[in-house]
Protein backbone atom coordinates (compact mmCIF):
# COMPACT_ATOMS: atom_id res chain seq x y z
CA UNK A 1 0.00 0.00 0.00
CA UNK A 2 1.31 3.40 -1.01
CA UNK A 3 -0.13 6.71 0.07
CA UNK A 4 0.91 10.20 -0.95
CA UNK A 5 -0.65 13.03 1.04
CA UNK A 6 -0.41 16.61 -0.25
CA UNK A 7 3.06 16.05 -1.61
CA UNK A 8 4.99 19.08 -2.85
CA UNK A 9 8.47 18.74 -4.22
CA UNK A 10 10.97 21.22 -5.67
CA UNK A 11 14.42 20.69 -7.09
CA UNK A 12 17.09 23.17 -6.04
CA UNK A 13 19.89 23.11 -8.57
CA UNK A 14 22.87 25.04 -7.17
CA UNK A 15 22.42 28.76 -7.64
CA UNK A 16 19.71 28.01 -10.17
CA UNK A 17 16.70 28.91 -8.07
CA UNK A 18 13.87 26.51 -7.42
CA UNK A 19 12.18 24.18 -9.90
CA UNK A 20 8.80 23.07 -8.60
CA UNK A 21 8.12 19.52 -9.82
CA UNK A 22 5.19 18.22 -7.74
CA UNK A 23 2.41 20.19 -6.11
CA UNK A 24 -0.34 18.86 -3.90
CA UNK A 25 -0.19 15.28 -5.08
CA UNK A 26 -2.63 12.91 -3.39
CA UNK A 27 -2.52 9.32 -4.53
CA UNK A 28 -3.22 5.88 -3.15
CA UNK A 29 -2.04 2.66 -4.71
CA UNK A 30 -3.57 -0.52 -3.39
CA UNK A 31 -1.79 -3.86 -2.98
CA UNK A 32 -2.01 -5.90 -6.17
CA UNK A 33 -3.01 -2.95 -8.35
CA UNK A 34 -1.59 -2.37 -11.83
CA UNK A 35 -1.31 1.39 -12.19
CA UNK A 36 -0.01 3.20 -15.26
CA UNK A 37 1.18 6.80 -14.95
CA UNK A 38 1.15 8.95 -18.06
CA UNK A 39 1.85 12.65 -18.61
CA UNK A 40 3.83 14.97 -20.84
CA UNK A 41 7.59 15.41 -20.63
CA UNK A 42 8.43 17.25 -17.42
CA UNK A 43 5.01 16.65 -15.84
CA UNK A 44 6.61 15.04 -12.78
CA UNK A 45 6.29 11.29 -13.37
CA UNK A 46 9.90 10.39 -12.59
CA UNK A 47 9.95 12.77 -9.65
CA UNK A 48 6.86 11.05 -8.28
CA UNK A 49 8.30 7.57 -8.91
CA UNK A 50 11.43 8.47 -7.00
CA UNK A 51 9.30 9.33 -3.97
CA UNK A 52 8.14 5.72 -3.81
CA UNK A 53 11.51 4.33 -2.84
CA UNK A 54 13.01 7.35 -1.11
CA UNK A 55 15.23 8.58 -3.92
CA UNK A 56 13.25 11.78 -3.30
CA UNK A 57 11.59 12.96 -0.10
CA UNK A 58 8.71 15.42 -0.16
CA UNK A 59 9.48 19.10 0.40
CA UNK A 60 6.15 19.10 2.21
CA UNK A 61 3.48 16.46 2.69
CA UNK A 62 3.92 12.77 3.49
CA UNK A 63 4.64 9.57 1.61
CA UNK A 64 3.71 6.29 3.24
CA UNK A 65 4.88 2.92 1.96
CA UNK A 66 3.33 -0.02 3.74
CA UNK A 67 2.61 2.33 6.67
CA UNK A 68 6.24 3.47 6.81
CA UNK A 69 6.85 7.18 6.39
CA UNK A 70 9.64 7.84 3.87
CA UNK A 71 10.85 10.74 6.00
CA UNK A 72 12.08 8.48 8.82
CA UNK A 73 15.75 7.57 8.28
CA UNK A 74 15.18 4.13 9.81
CA UNK A 75 12.65 3.24 7.14
CA UNK A 76 15.04 3.72 4.22
CA UNK A 77 16.19 0.12 3.76
CA UNK A 78 12.90 -1.54 4.70
CA UNK A 79 11.23 0.61 2.03
CA UNK A 80 13.91 -0.06 -0.58
CA UNK A 81 13.52 -3.78 -0.03
CA UNK A 82 9.78 -3.38 -0.47
CA UNK A 83 9.73 -1.14 -3.54
CA UNK A 84 12.00 -2.00 -6.48
CA UNK A 85 12.76 0.32 -9.39
CA UNK A 86 13.51 -0.35 -13.06
CA UNK A 87 14.65 2.47 -15.33
CA UNK A 88 14.62 3.35 -19.00
CA UNK A 89 18.05 2.41 -20.24
CA UNK A 90 18.75 -1.30 -19.76
CA UNK A 91 22.47 -0.82 -20.30
CA UNK A 92 22.83 1.47 -17.30
CA UNK A 93 21.32 -1.08 -14.94
CA UNK A 94 23.53 -4.02 -15.66
CA UNK A 95 26.32 -4.56 -13.17
CA UNK A 96 27.59 -8.11 -13.76
CA UNK A 97 28.99 -10.09 -16.66
CA UNK A 98 26.61 -13.02 -16.10
CA UNK A 99 22.80 -12.83 -16.00
CA UNK A 100 22.46 -14.88 -12.82
CA UNK A 101 24.97 -12.73 -10.91
CA UNK A 102 23.16 -9.64 -12.04
CA UNK A 103 19.90 -10.91 -10.61
CA UNK A 104 21.68 -11.83 -7.35
CA UNK A 105 23.20 -8.38 -7.01
CA UNK A 106 20.09 -6.76 -5.49
CA UNK A 107 19.48 -9.25 -2.68
CA UNK A 108 23.22 -9.42 -1.93
CA UNK A 109 23.29 -5.68 -1.63
CA UNK A 110 20.34 -5.77 0.78
CA UNK A 111 22.22 -8.28 2.92
CA UNK A 112 19.80 -11.16 2.36
CA UNK A 113 20.92 -14.46 3.94
CA UNK A 114 23.20 -16.06 1.28
CA UNK A 115 21.48 -19.41 1.76
CA UNK A 116 18.25 -17.84 0.58
CA UNK A 117 19.68 -15.81 -2.26
CA UNK A 118 20.13 -18.79 -4.56
CA UNK A 119 16.53 -19.84 -4.03
CA UNK A 120 15.22 -16.34 -4.70
CA UNK A 121 17.39 -15.99 -7.79
CA UNK A 122 16.28 -19.35 -9.17
CA UNK A 123 12.63 -18.49 -8.65
CA UNK A 124 12.96 -15.04 -10.19
CA UNK A 125 14.74 -16.37 -13.27
CA UNK A 126 12.00 -18.95 -13.66
CA UNK A 127 9.19 -16.40 -13.33
CA UNK A 128 10.81 -14.13 -15.91
CA UNK A 129 11.50 -17.05 -18.29
CA UNK A 130 15.23 -16.45 -18.08
CA UNK A 131 16.39 -19.82 -16.75
CA UNK A 132 17.71 -20.86 -20.18
CA UNK A 133 19.98 -17.86 -20.43
CA UNK A 134 21.08 -17.59 -16.79
CA UNK A 135 24.72 -18.13 -17.78
CA UNK A 136 24.71 -15.64 -20.67
CA UNK A 137 26.50 -12.32 -20.74
CA UNK A 138 23.92 -9.53 -20.34
CA UNK A 139 25.50 -7.35 -23.03
CA UNK A 140 24.73 -10.06 -25.60
CA UNK A 141 21.00 -9.92 -24.83
CA UNK A 142 18.30 -7.94 -26.58
CA UNK A 143 16.88 -4.84 -24.91
CA UNK A 144 13.75 -6.74 -23.93
CA UNK A 145 15.75 -9.53 -22.33
CA UNK A 146 17.88 -7.01 -20.46
CA UNK A 147 14.78 -5.35 -19.03
CA UNK A 148 13.47 -8.76 -17.96
CA UNK A 149 16.79 -9.33 -16.18
CA UNK A 150 16.33 -6.01 -14.39
CA UNK A 151 12.80 -7.02 -13.36
CA UNK A 152 14.09 -10.41 -12.15
CA UNK A 153 16.57 -8.51 -9.99
CA UNK A 154 13.69 -6.71 -8.30
CA UNK A 155 11.79 -9.98 -7.82
CA UNK A 156 14.86 -11.55 -6.24
CA UNK A 157 14.84 -8.79 -3.62
CA UNK A 158 11.31 -9.98 -2.77
CA UNK A 159 9.91 -6.54 -3.40
CA UNK A 160 6.13 -6.35 -3.25
CA UNK A 161 5.91 -3.24 -5.37
CA UNK A 162 7.72 -2.70 -8.63
CA UNK A 163 7.99 0.78 -10.11
CA UNK A 164 9.12 1.03 -13.73
CA UNK A 165 10.10 4.36 -15.28
CA UNK A 166 9.63 4.00 -19.05
CA UNK A 167 11.11 0.49 -19.21
CA UNK A 168 10.05 0.05 -22.84
CA UNK A 169 11.01 3.44 -24.29
CA UNK A 170 14.09 2.13 -26.06
CA UNK A 171 12.77 -1.25 -27.15
CA UNK A 172 11.47 -2.62 -30.44
CA UNK A 173 7.78 -3.65 -30.69
CA UNK A 174 8.27 -7.32 -29.81
CA UNK A 175 10.50 -6.55 -26.85
CA UNK A 176 7.95 -4.06 -25.62
CA UNK A 177 5.24 -6.71 -25.77
CA UNK A 178 7.52 -9.22 -24.02
CA UNK A 179 8.17 -6.83 -21.11
CA UNK A 180 4.55 -5.82 -20.79
CA UNK A 181 3.32 -9.41 -20.79
CA UNK A 182 5.75 -10.34 -18.05
CA UNK A 183 4.58 -7.39 -15.94
CA UNK A 184 0.98 -8.52 -16.25
CA UNK A 185 2.04 -12.06 -15.38
CA UNK A 186 3.83 -11.09 -12.16
CA UNK A 187 0.91 -8.84 -11.26
CA UNK A 188 -1.61 -11.64 -11.78
CA UNK A 189 0.30 -14.67 -10.56
CA UNK A 190 2.74 -13.27 -8.00
CA UNK A 191 0.30 -10.56 -6.82
CA UNK A 192 2.92 -7.85 -7.15
CA UNK A 193 1.81 -4.25 -7.28
CA UNK A 194 2.99 -2.68 -10.54
CA UNK A 195 3.44 1.04 -11.16
CA UNK A 196 4.38 1.63 -14.77
CA UNK A 197 5.35 4.96 -16.33
CA UNK A 198 5.07 5.10 -20.11
CA UNK A 199 4.51 7.30 -23.13
CA UNK A 200 2.97 4.42 -25.08
CA UNK A 201 -0.76 4.76 -24.55
CA UNK A 202 -1.22 1.18 -25.83
CA UNK A 203 0.61 -0.02 -22.72
CA UNK A 204 -2.01 1.51 -20.47
CA UNK A 205 -4.90 -0.46 -21.97
CA UNK A 206 -4.56 -3.47 -19.66
CA UNK A 207 -4.09 -1.46 -16.46
CA UNK A 208 -6.48 -1.39 -13.51
CA UNK A 209 -6.11 2.37 -13.36
CA UNK A 210 -4.49 5.18 -15.32
CA UNK A 211 -3.14 8.22 -13.49
CA UNK A 212 -2.59 11.28 -15.64
CA UNK A 213 -0.11 13.96 -14.55
CA UNK A 214 0.19 17.52 -15.74
CA UNK A 215 2.35 20.30 -14.32
CA UNK A 216 3.27 18.33 -11.20
CA UNK A 217 -0.33 17.47 -10.37
CA UNK A 218 -2.55 14.43 -10.78
CA UNK A 219 -5.23 15.81 -13.10
CA UNK A 220 -7.20 12.75 -14.15
CA UNK A 221 -7.54 9.13 -13.13
CA UNK A 222 -9.76 6.19 -13.87
CA UNK A 223 -9.99 2.91 -15.72
CA UNK A 224 -8.49 2.88 -19.22
CA UNK A 225 -11.98 3.01 -20.69
CA UNK A 226 -12.96 6.03 -18.60
CA UNK A 227 -9.74 7.88 -19.32
CA UNK A 228 -9.42 7.17 -23.03
CA UNK A 229 -13.07 8.02 -23.65
CA UNK A 230 -12.07 11.64 -22.97
CA UNK A 231 -10.19 12.11 -26.21
CA UNK A 232 -10.30 15.91 -26.22
CA UNK A 233 -9.19 16.24 -22.63
CA UNK A 234 -6.36 13.76 -23.17
CA UNK A 235 -5.15 15.67 -26.22
CA UNK A 236 -5.31 18.94 -24.33
CA UNK A 237 -2.87 17.38 -21.84
CA UNK A 238 -0.33 16.75 -24.67
CA UNK A 239 -1.21 13.07 -24.68
CA UNK A 240 -3.12 10.85 -27.04
CA UNK A 241 -5.39 7.83 -26.99
CA UNK A 242 -4.35 4.46 -28.45
CA UNK A 243 -4.61 4.19 -32.25
CA UNK A 244 -7.48 1.71 -31.97
CA UNK A 245 -9.48 4.08 -29.78
CA UNK A 246 -8.74 6.94 -32.18
CA UNK A 247 -10.28 5.03 -35.06
CA UNK A 248 -13.39 4.20 -33.04
CA UNK A 249 -13.71 7.73 -31.64
CA UNK A 250 -13.30 9.32 -35.09
CA UNK A 251 -15.94 7.02 -36.60
CA UNK A 252 -18.26 7.80 -33.71
CA UNK A 253 -17.69 11.53 -34.05
CA UNK A 254 -18.61 11.31 -37.73
CA UNK A 255 -21.92 9.72 -36.77
CA UNK A 256 -21.18 6.04 -37.31
CA UNK A 257 -22.36 3.12 -35.23
CA UNK A 258 -19.18 2.26 -33.35
CA UNK A 259 -18.74 2.80 -29.59
CA UNK A 260 -16.16 5.58 -29.11
CA UNK A 261 -14.32 3.93 -26.24
CA UNK A 262 -13.08 0.72 -27.90
CA UNK A 263 -9.78 -0.49 -26.48
CA UNK A 264 -8.95 -3.46 -28.70
CA UNK A 265 -8.88 -4.28 -32.39
CA UNK A 266 -11.44 -7.04 -31.80
CA UNK A 267 -13.88 -4.57 -30.25
CA UNK A 268 -13.67 -2.31 -33.29
CA UNK A 269 -13.97 -5.19 -35.73
CA UNK A 270 -16.90 -6.71 -33.83
CA UNK A 271 -18.67 -3.36 -33.60
CA UNK A 272 -18.31 -2.79 -37.35
CA UNK A 273 -19.54 -6.29 -38.18
CA UNK A 274 -22.44 -5.93 -35.75
CA UNK A 275 -23.51 -2.64 -37.28
CA UNK A 276 -24.09 -4.28 -40.66
Amino acid sequence: MIKLENVDFSYQPQAGGIVPALSGVNLEIKPGEFVVIVGHNGSGKSTLAKHLNVLNKPTSGEVWVNEMNTKAEANLWPIRSYVGMVFQNPDNQIVSTVVEDDVAFGPENLGVDPAKIQKYVDESLEIMHLTDIRDSAPHMLSGGQKQRVAIAGVLAMRCQIIVLDEPTALLDPDSRREVLESLHRINREEKLTVVLITHYMEEAIGADRIVVMDGGKVVLQGTPREVFAQVDKIRALSLDVPMVTQIAADLYARGYDVPPDCLSEEEVVDAICRSL
Binding site: G39, L170, V258, C273
Partner: protein, 293 residues
Protein backbone atom coordinates in the same frame (compact mmCIF):
# COMPACT_ATOMS: atom_id res chain seq x y z
CA UNK B 1 23.77 14.70 -51.02
CA UNK B 2 23.15 11.05 -51.89
CA UNK B 3 24.71 8.31 -49.80
CA UNK B 4 25.54 5.04 -51.53
CA UNK B 5 26.40 1.91 -49.53
CA UNK B 6 27.88 -1.11 -51.32
CA UNK B 7 28.56 -4.59 -49.92
CA UNK B 8 29.19 -3.11 -46.49
CA UNK B 9 30.22 -5.51 -43.73
CA UNK B 10 30.87 -4.75 -40.10
CA UNK B 11 32.26 -6.87 -37.30
CA UNK B 12 32.63 -5.62 -33.73
CA UNK B 13 35.76 -6.77 -31.93
CA UNK B 14 37.16 -8.35 -35.06
CA UNK B 15 39.86 -10.91 -34.36
CA UNK B 16 38.88 -11.52 -30.74
CA UNK B 17 36.88 -14.41 -29.29
CA UNK B 18 34.06 -11.86 -28.89
CA UNK B 19 33.93 -11.04 -32.60
CA UNK B 20 30.36 -10.09 -33.49
CA UNK B 21 29.47 -9.77 -37.14
CA UNK B 22 26.63 -7.31 -37.50
CA UNK B 23 26.43 -6.19 -41.14
CA UNK B 24 26.59 -8.92 -43.78
CA UNK B 25 26.86 -7.04 -47.06
CA UNK B 26 24.49 -4.09 -46.97
CA UNK B 27 23.53 -2.44 -50.26
CA UNK B 28 21.40 0.68 -50.16
CA UNK B 29 21.11 4.25 -51.35
CA UNK B 30 19.84 7.34 -49.63
CA UNK B 31 18.64 9.53 -52.49
CA UNK B 32 19.35 13.22 -52.46
CA UNK B 33 16.49 15.04 -50.74
CA UNK B 34 14.50 12.01 -49.68
CA UNK B 35 12.95 11.25 -46.31
CA UNK B 36 13.91 7.67 -45.61
CA UNK B 37 12.66 5.53 -42.73
CA UNK B 38 15.01 2.82 -41.48
CA UNK B 39 13.41 0.04 -39.47
CA UNK B 40 14.53 -3.34 -38.22
CA UNK B 41 14.42 -5.46 -35.10
CA UNK B 42 16.48 -4.58 -32.08
CA UNK B 43 20.20 -5.33 -32.60
CA UNK B 44 19.77 -5.67 -36.36
CA UNK B 45 22.54 -3.14 -36.92
CA UNK B 46 20.65 0.09 -37.66
CA UNK B 47 22.74 2.27 -35.36
CA UNK B 48 25.90 0.61 -36.62
CA UNK B 49 25.00 1.27 -40.26
CA UNK B 50 24.28 4.97 -39.91
CA UNK B 51 27.60 5.64 -38.21
CA UNK B 52 29.12 4.98 -41.63
CA UNK B 53 27.06 7.81 -43.08
CA UNK B 54 29.02 10.53 -41.34
CA UNK B 55 32.40 8.86 -41.20
CA UNK B 56 32.36 7.75 -37.58
CA UNK B 57 33.01 4.30 -39.03
CA UNK B 58 35.12 3.83 -42.15
CA UNK B 59 34.52 0.67 -44.21
CA UNK B 60 37.02 -2.16 -43.93
CA UNK B 61 34.89 -4.30 -46.22
CA UNK B 62 32.62 -2.63 -48.73
CA UNK B 63 32.21 0.97 -49.71
CA UNK B 64 30.36 4.08 -48.58
CA UNK B 65 30.10 7.15 -50.79
CA UNK B 66 28.70 10.39 -49.42
CA UNK B 67 28.05 13.00 -52.08
CA UNK B 68 30.08 10.73 -54.40
CA UNK B 69 33.11 10.91 -52.10
CA UNK B 70 34.43 7.57 -50.90
CA UNK B 71 34.75 7.93 -47.13
CA UNK B 72 37.78 5.66 -46.99
CA UNK B 73 39.65 7.70 -49.55
CA UNK B 74 38.74 10.99 -47.93
CA UNK B 75 39.78 10.45 -44.36
CA UNK B 76 41.26 13.93 -44.21
CA UNK B 77 37.92 15.55 -44.90
CA UNK B 78 35.98 13.74 -42.23
CA UNK B 79 35.49 16.87 -40.18
CA UNK B 80 33.73 18.54 -43.09
CA UNK B 81 31.70 15.39 -43.64
CA UNK B 82 30.51 15.32 -40.04
CA UNK B 83 29.37 18.89 -40.37
CA UNK B 84 27.33 18.09 -43.47
CA UNK B 85 25.87 14.86 -42.12
CA UNK B 86 24.41 15.49 -38.69
CA UNK B 87 23.87 12.38 -36.61
CA UNK B 88 21.52 12.46 -33.68
CA UNK B 89 22.43 9.40 -31.67
CA UNK B 90 20.13 7.03 -29.93
CA UNK B 91 19.81 8.23 -26.30
CA UNK B 92 21.20 11.66 -27.30
CA UNK B 93 20.72 12.90 -23.75
CA UNK B 94 24.09 11.29 -23.06
CA UNK B 95 25.61 13.76 -25.49
CA UNK B 96 24.76 16.78 -23.33
CA UNK B 97 27.88 18.07 -21.66
CA UNK B 98 27.73 21.85 -21.36
CA UNK B 99 26.44 23.43 -18.19
CA UNK B 100 23.42 25.23 -19.58
CA UNK B 101 20.97 24.61 -22.37
CA UNK B 102 22.10 27.53 -24.56
CA UNK B 103 25.79 26.69 -24.13
CA UNK B 104 25.11 23.10 -25.06
CA UNK B 105 23.18 23.92 -28.20
CA UNK B 106 25.71 26.63 -29.10
CA UNK B 107 28.72 24.35 -28.69
CA UNK B 108 28.85 23.16 -32.30
CA UNK B 109 28.32 26.58 -33.94
CA UNK B 110 30.91 28.10 -31.58
CA UNK B 111 33.36 25.42 -32.69
CA UNK B 112 32.74 26.47 -36.28
CA UNK B 113 34.01 29.91 -35.33
CA UNK B 114 30.76 31.73 -36.01
CA UNK B 115 30.20 35.15 -34.45
CA UNK B 116 28.19 35.41 -31.23
CA UNK B 117 25.21 37.02 -32.93
CA UNK B 118 24.90 34.17 -35.43
CA UNK B 119 25.40 31.59 -32.65
CA UNK B 120 22.62 33.14 -30.59
CA UNK B 121 20.34 33.22 -33.61
CA UNK B 122 20.95 29.57 -34.41
CA UNK B 123 20.54 28.42 -30.82
CA UNK B 124 17.29 30.36 -30.49
CA UNK B 125 15.80 28.91 -33.68
CA UNK B 126 16.95 25.38 -32.93
CA UNK B 127 15.38 25.47 -29.47
CA UNK B 128 12.15 26.75 -30.96
CA UNK B 129 12.24 24.02 -33.59
CA UNK B 130 12.26 21.32 -30.90
CA UNK B 131 9.54 22.95 -28.82
CA UNK B 132 11.76 24.21 -25.98
CA UNK B 133 10.85 27.85 -25.36
CA UNK B 134 14.22 29.69 -25.40
CA UNK B 135 12.87 32.32 -23.00
CA UNK B 136 12.33 29.65 -20.34
CA UNK B 137 15.19 27.27 -20.95
CA UNK B 138 18.08 29.47 -22.15
CA UNK B 139 19.98 29.41 -18.85
CA UNK B 140 18.57 26.18 -17.44
CA UNK B 141 21.19 23.68 -16.26
CA UNK B 142 21.18 20.68 -18.58
CA UNK B 143 21.08 18.23 -15.67
CA UNK B 144 17.96 19.96 -14.39
CA UNK B 145 15.81 18.74 -17.25
CA UNK B 146 13.43 15.82 -17.54
CA UNK B 147 14.37 12.91 -19.80
CA UNK B 148 12.32 14.15 -22.72
CA UNK B 149 13.56 17.72 -22.37
CA UNK B 150 17.18 16.52 -22.54
CA UNK B 151 16.38 14.68 -25.75
CA UNK B 152 14.96 17.82 -27.32
CA UNK B 153 18.02 19.86 -26.36
CA UNK B 154 20.32 17.23 -27.85
CA UNK B 155 18.41 17.37 -31.12
CA UNK B 156 18.58 21.17 -31.10
CA UNK B 157 22.37 20.91 -30.80
CA UNK B 158 22.63 19.02 -34.07
CA UNK B 159 20.12 21.30 -35.83
CA UNK B 160 22.23 24.31 -34.90
CA UNK B 161 24.96 22.93 -37.18
CA UNK B 162 22.57 23.21 -40.14
CA UNK B 163 23.49 19.86 -41.66
CA UNK B 164 22.56 18.91 -45.26
CA UNK B 165 21.78 15.35 -44.27
CA UNK B 166 20.18 14.66 -40.93
CA UNK B 167 20.26 11.17 -39.47
CA UNK B 168 17.99 10.70 -36.47
CA UNK B 169 18.42 7.46 -34.51
CA UNK B 170 15.14 6.74 -32.70
CA UNK B 171 14.53 10.42 -31.91
CA UNK B 172 11.02 10.05 -30.48
CA UNK B 173 11.73 7.36 -27.89
CA UNK B 174 10.74 8.68 -24.49
CA UNK B 175 8.89 11.70 -25.84
CA UNK B 176 5.29 12.35 -24.92
CA UNK B 177 2.75 12.11 -27.77
CA UNK B 178 2.77 15.86 -28.33
CA UNK B 179 6.58 15.93 -28.28
CA UNK B 180 6.62 13.10 -30.78
CA UNK B 181 4.22 15.04 -32.94
CA UNK B 182 6.46 18.12 -32.68
CA UNK B 183 9.58 16.22 -33.63
CA UNK B 184 7.79 14.57 -36.55
CA UNK B 185 6.49 17.86 -37.88
CA UNK B 186 9.89 19.46 -37.31
CA UNK B 187 11.51 16.70 -39.39
CA UNK B 188 8.86 17.19 -42.05
CA UNK B 189 9.48 20.93 -42.13
CA UNK B 190 13.25 20.59 -42.33
CA UNK B 191 12.69 18.26 -45.21
CA UNK B 192 10.17 20.41 -47.05
CA UNK B 193 11.42 23.90 -46.36
CA UNK B 194 15.16 23.45 -46.10
CA UNK B 195 15.39 20.43 -48.39
CA UNK B 196 17.45 18.51 -45.87
CA UNK B 197 17.91 14.83 -46.73
CA UNK B 198 16.65 12.78 -43.81
CA UNK B 199 17.27 9.29 -42.52
CA UNK B 200 14.91 8.43 -39.69
CA UNK B 201 15.47 5.30 -37.59
CA UNK B 202 12.59 4.33 -35.36
CA UNK B 203 11.24 1.50 -33.27
CA UNK B 204 7.86 3.18 -33.52
CA UNK B 205 6.21 1.93 -36.70
CA UNK B 206 3.43 4.53 -36.41
CA UNK B 207 5.97 7.32 -36.73
CA UNK B 208 7.68 5.78 -39.74
CA UNK B 209 4.34 5.10 -41.42
CA UNK B 210 3.35 8.73 -41.00
CA UNK B 211 6.59 10.33 -42.03
CA UNK B 212 8.67 8.33 -44.47
CA UNK B 213 8.59 8.57 -48.26
CA UNK B 214 10.40 5.26 -48.47
CA UNK B 215 11.09 2.58 -45.88
CA UNK B 216 14.11 0.31 -45.73
CA UNK B 217 14.13 -2.66 -43.39
CA UNK B 218 17.33 -4.15 -42.02
CA UNK B 219 17.31 -7.64 -40.54
CA UNK B 220 20.14 -9.95 -39.66
CA UNK B 221 22.64 -7.54 -41.14
CA UNK B 222 21.02 -7.25 -44.57
CA UNK B 223 18.42 -5.08 -46.26
CA UNK B 224 15.35 -7.34 -46.47
CA UNK B 225 12.67 -4.89 -47.64
CA UNK B 226 12.58 -1.54 -49.34
CA UNK B 227 9.62 0.34 -50.73
CA UNK B 228 6.84 2.82 -50.13
CA UNK B 229 5.52 2.71 -46.54
CA UNK B 230 2.29 1.08 -47.67
CA UNK B 231 4.22 -1.64 -49.50
CA UNK B 232 6.43 -2.44 -46.52
CA UNK B 233 3.82 -2.18 -43.76
CA UNK B 234 1.38 -4.50 -45.51
CA UNK B 235 3.96 -7.33 -45.50
CA UNK B 236 2.18 -8.61 -42.42
CA UNK B 237 3.75 -12.07 -42.15
CA UNK B 238 7.25 -10.77 -42.79
CA UNK B 239 6.90 -8.03 -40.16
CA UNK B 240 5.53 -10.48 -37.61
CA UNK B 241 8.33 -12.93 -38.20
CA UNK B 242 10.86 -10.18 -37.57
CA UNK B 243 9.13 -9.08 -34.38
CA UNK B 244 8.21 -5.66 -35.70
CA UNK B 245 4.50 -6.06 -35.13
CA UNK B 246 1.69 -4.85 -37.34
CA UNK B 247 0.11 -1.39 -37.25
CA UNK B 248 -3.38 -1.48 -35.66
CA UNK B 249 -4.76 0.28 -38.74
CA UNK B 250 -3.49 -2.48 -41.05
CA UNK B 251 -4.49 -5.16 -38.59
CA UNK B 252 -8.10 -3.94 -38.24
CA UNK B 253 -8.57 -3.81 -42.02
CA UNK B 254 -7.00 -7.25 -42.34
CA UNK B 255 -9.40 -8.66 -39.74
CA UNK B 256 -12.40 -7.14 -41.50
CA UNK B 257 -11.24 -8.66 -44.78
CA UNK B 258 -10.83 -12.02 -43.05
CA UNK B 259 -14.49 -11.75 -42.10
CA UNK B 260 -15.37 -11.26 -45.72
CA UNK B 261 -15.80 -7.47 -45.79
CA UNK B 262 -14.58 -5.64 -48.82
CA UNK B 263 -12.19 -2.93 -47.56
CA UNK B 264 -9.02 -2.07 -49.46
CA UNK B 265 -5.76 -2.73 -47.62
CA UNK B 266 -4.01 0.47 -48.62
CA UNK B 267 -4.18 2.87 -45.70
CA UNK B 268 -1.71 3.49 -42.88
CA UNK B 269 -2.78 6.46 -40.79
CA UNK B 270 -5.87 6.72 -38.61
CA UNK B 271 -7.32 9.45 -40.83
CA UNK B 272 -6.85 7.47 -44.04
CA UNK B 273 -8.23 4.32 -42.46
CA UNK B 274 -11.35 6.05 -41.15
CA UNK B 275 -11.96 7.50 -44.63
CA UNK B 276 -11.48 4.08 -46.24
CA UNK B 277 -13.91 2.42 -43.83
CA UNK B 278 -16.55 5.05 -44.55
CA UNK B 279 -15.95 5.07 -48.31
CA UNK B 280 -16.23 1.31 -48.60
CA UNK B 281 -19.58 1.38 -46.82
CA UNK B 282 -18.79 -1.16 -44.10
CA UNK B 283 -19.81 1.17 -41.26
CA UNK B 284 -23.43 2.19 -40.69
CA UNK B 285 -24.69 5.55 -39.49
CA UNK B 286 -25.93 5.22 -35.95
CA UNK B 287 -29.48 5.53 -34.80
CA UNK B 288 -29.23 4.51 -31.17
CA UNK B 289 -27.12 6.36 -28.59
CA UNK B 290 -24.44 4.89 -26.39
CA UNK B 291 -24.59 5.48 -22.63
CA UNK B 292 -23.24 8.84 -21.63
CA UNK B 293 -22.12 9.92 -25.07
Amino acid sequence: MPIVVKDLEHTYMEGTPFANKVLYGVNMTVEDGELLGLIGPSRSGKSTLVQYFNGLFIPEKGQVRVDSLDTRENRKNLKALRQKVGLIFQYPEHQLFAETVSKDVGFGPRNLGLDEKEITRRVWHSLEAVGMDPKIYWNRYTFALSGGQKRRVAIAGVLAMQPKVLVLDDPTAGLDPKGREEILSMVKQLHENLRVTIVFISNNMEDVARLAQRVVCLAQGKIVMSGKPIEVFTQVEMLKSMGLGVLPTISIIQKLRDRGLNVPLNTLTVEETVEALIASGVVRRRERQYGTF
